[in-house]
Amino acid sequence: MSQAYDVIVIGAGHAGCEAAAAVARLGKRVAVITLHLKHIGRLSCNPAIGGLAKGNLVREIDALGGIMAKVADATCIQFRRLNTRKGLAVQASRAQVDIDAYPLEMQRVLAQTQGLTLLEGEVAAIRMTSGHVSGVILGDGSELHAPAVILTAGTFLAGILHTGDVKTIGGRVGDGAAHALSGSLADLGLRLGRLKTGTPPRLDSDTIDWDRIDVQHDTVPEGRFSFAEPGPRLPQINCHMVYTNAKTHDIIAKQIHRSPLFSGVIEGTGPRYCPSIEDKVVRFPDKERHLVFLEPEGLNTKRVYPNGLSTSLPLDVQVDYVHSITGMENARILVPGYAVEYDFADPRDLGHDLQHRNVPGLFMAGQVNGTSGYEEAAAQGLVAGVSAATGTTFQLARDAAYIGVMIDDLVTRGVGGEPYRMFTSRAEHRLLLREDNADRRLMPTGREWGLVSDQEWERFTERSERYDAAADALNVQLTPSVATKQAFADAGIGDIKGPMTARELLKRQGVDWDDVRTVAPSLPELPILVAEQLTTDVRYEGYIAKAERQAEAMRGQDTLPFPPNWVWADIRSVSTEVRERLDAAQPKTLGQAARVPGVTAAAVQQLAAMMVKYSAQA
């Protein structure tokens, strides 16, 4: 029996869920096939959403009508703002979520989505008709038909789990791997590589001596990711902090030869930025201690996630080093830490729509593209979903969204040997790409594409109007009268020496919107979000204006497409090496060509000159 859909999504992790939701939102029929319906939306690693740069991705997904932010808000058990001391422009949010509630909420949201069908099964192969994707073939031989397939296989392609020298086949603890599909993809000509990532042991909360451990305080109980009307909040919990010590490091150093990451058993390259504890001990021998966050996995579980202790060492070593940490002398390990090694497909073979260049109709999103992280996966799912549903590349510019930076990096530069994680430092226009202004950056685009609901659009329009009115009101003059001077003193915001505008006052260090309102009562009351947007825009206006100019200059190159009659092999005015790199990368614009590794500035100038010649001929 065959069934026809507009889009089929393979996998129901963070990429798959977001992709399917986007397709359905655009009014298309979508089927999601997963190995286990109960595992939809699972958090395979830590029970947290967001973090530095990742929080921006979550907000961007929300501004584009996605679901991750809403599910995270509904299941949040602790909300924090990071980088608060590093300037308003680079702050990011991070939510601890209930590890059981999150997938349930995700499943609830998907089940309620019109036009979305959830199916349990294993996909054995991609079905091809005359060189174009036409559906999938399941393990039982049945077929599903669709002109577009989005592959979100996560770490399940030829996945192997390592705990010390014990190897298990699987994409995640408790789940099998997708071996048949991996073979089918290789047959389609996909270039596969190998990557690895690690997880820490999970601990039993009842066996930790909490009284001897520091609580982490800087929480924002009312914080939310989504721009939508805030819903009810689950009870909030505390996270704690412990430190490794000389004894911990000594235990690990003595047993290092038993880590497959070091003994050479694992072939895949691991990440430098989320290193395993054994990596940290080896690479930073001078460091006396490493910070470990103890994150409860949920309200109804005793499992604790020790963030910072990921490992592939054998269980007996894990037990020893966990016990060496203050307050954890008797901690029991519920699930041993393990490393997972898996296949990924080189994302340089994809277009900006995440469609494979050589397999029309096949879209890929998430860890299968060599990325790391739930948020990175979800963002790719959204882009692939919209592109597959509309047949048009849903491309966001590098100066418009972290999502745009990530996808351009992936398809232009690849992942460079380790899982790609979103970083603030990857975004050259980061002063423009703030978490607070994600709606102002992206909701108009989302609305144009049909992704933003009437209700959310109305809320956005209202916020914009309030922003504009408040920005105008900031021009009010304050004069140093006796009354004003007193008001300044009462508010604790320094002195007023001469006439100044409320706008100038808002630029002062440590002065926020409500402070300004106390001395300038004509200013309107603002929702926290709008006050934050406006304050950041005003306080950084010089830097933001400069960033806009730089973005403008770069945009020039990014809007210069190579003409249709352009053939890389014929471009003789650049060196053979550069020509080969460009031929392999097939950049679409001059700006993208400039970002291909190894392409020199002089070569870019030659290309620009050639483009002028070509367009004269065309």
Binding site: A89, S425, Y540, Y543, Q550, S575, T600, A601, A602
Partner: protein, 399 residues
């Protein structure tokens, strides 16, 4: 690879010479290059070129060989400017400065400064992406010190541009003084030929004359300016304004006083006062005239008519220029383009230092990234469209 060749046209052989073949990519342009050497008679050279053009060659555009070298990565823009300097240098000292650029001394320094700024940027960027478990060790103070050291290096190099200009282009020496004190006569005497129009009615020199002179190994550009006086003549007024501008950019001033019992006149006193802070040589000119009396201020007594005091004047000017061009910097910068780019680098770096405590590491890192971009634009690692054109347009021959 060299071989003897015979140059042949439709009517037979017209010369013989040597063919040198330099295979790419290790040639001057990075491409295959052939050099032909023939006998020096211009008739032969020009006929050989005509024959080559008839066979399909074309004449190189200004700076084309250097430009191709840059495009193929044989040299960076800094070295390319060194080629230009080597061609244009007015003396041996200038040639040596050009050599520094060609040998990569400037490029090496720029690479070093770039690395320092990149390290500082990386440090700041790392802070942005490292919550809690911070593997970062440098404090704001350490970083600021590192950045300011880069700025210091840049300032030193920028200050050497005065010397660079003097040794490459020659020093600019401007004659200033009240109108009709004999500046033009002196100018001509210093040049040893009649160049400026001399007439004893005031205001004869209405424009600025600019002539290069070579005194032994010292190259100078002499500027004769319109004399200073209030004037209703718009042409003369424009000349005065131009003179003002040029004398301000001069490396040395020659203040000419008219030898007379009334010296200094009110106008002359004003000129002496206004140029007091500048490098200058004061001249008491026209001492051959009877009854002029002794100089009222320390000065060199000269007579443009008899030539008296001219050697002493030249020596005094030389002394001033040598002081002006003096510097303890080993590295000398001759390129105004690089100097102005370096100014931008320093400004962006200073902006980062200011921003760090107020706006935080994200903004500071952005400022440093901009500083690095200015370096890249300077060395050609990210040359904006048009930079190459502007640069190579200054070459007047096909080198």
């Amino acid at each position: 690879m060299a071989r003897r060749v015979s140059f042949v046209d439709g009517s037979g052989s017209f010369d013989d010479g040597i063919l040198l073949f330099f295979p790419g990519p290790r040639s001057v342009t990075g491409e295959d290059v052939v050099e032909l050497t023939c006998h020096g008679n211009p008739v032969i050279v020009s006929h050989l070129v005509d024959e080559l053009v008839a066979a399909g060659a074309r004449l190189a555009e200004a700076g084309e060989f250097t430009r191709r070298g840059v495009i193929h990565g044989r040299m960076d823009l800094v070295a390319a400017e060194g080629v230009h300097t080597a061609i244009e240098a007015s003396g041996l000292a200038g040639v040596r400065v050009a050599r520094q650029a060609l040998d990569g001394a400037h490029s090496a320094l720029y690479a070093e400064l770039r690395t320092e700024l990149c390290m500082a940027t990386a440090e700041l960027e790392a802070r942005l992406d490292q919550p809690g478990d911070v593997l970062v060790t440098q404090t704001d103070d350490v970083l600021t010190t590192r950045i300011l050291k880069v700025v210091d290096n840049i300032e030193t190099l920028i200050s050497s541009t005065v010397r660079g200009r003097v040794v490459v282009d020659g020093a600019r020496v401007a004659l200033v003084g009240e109108t009709n004190v004999g500046k033009s006569s002196l100018f001509n005497a210093l040049l040893g030929r009649r160049r400026a129009l001399v007439h004893n009615s005031p205001g004869t020199t209405r424009d600025v004359l600019e002539v290069r002179a070579q005194w032994g190994d010292l190259a100078v550009t002499l500027l004769d300016t319109a004399g200073e006086r209030e004037t209703a003549d718009p042409v003369e007024a424009a000349g005065l304004a131009l003179a003002q501008e040029l004398t301000e950019a001069a490396d040395c001033l020659v203040v000419v006083l008219r030898a007379s019992p009334d010296c200094p006149s009110d106008a002359e006193s004003l000129i002496l006062e206004r140029t007091a802070g500048r490098r200058r040589v004061v001249v008491y000119n026209g001492v051959d005239r009877p009854g002029v009396g002794p100089a009222p201020v320390p000065s060199i007594e000269t007579s443009a008519e008899t030539g008296q005091g001219l050697d002493r004047l030249i020596e005094a000017i030389r002394g001033q220029i040598e002081q002006q061009a003096q510097g303890d910097a080993d590295l000398v910068l001759a390129s105004a383009r690089q100097a102005s780019r370096l100014r931008e680098v320093a400004d962006s770096a200073l902006e980062a230092v200011e921003a760090l405590p107020i706006a935080g590491p994200a903004v500071a890192a952005s400022c440093l990234t901009e500083a690095v971009a200015h370096i890249d634009a300077m060395t050609g690692d990210s040359a904006q469209e048009g930079v190459l054109d502007a640069l190579f347009a200054r070459f007047c021959i096909g080198k």
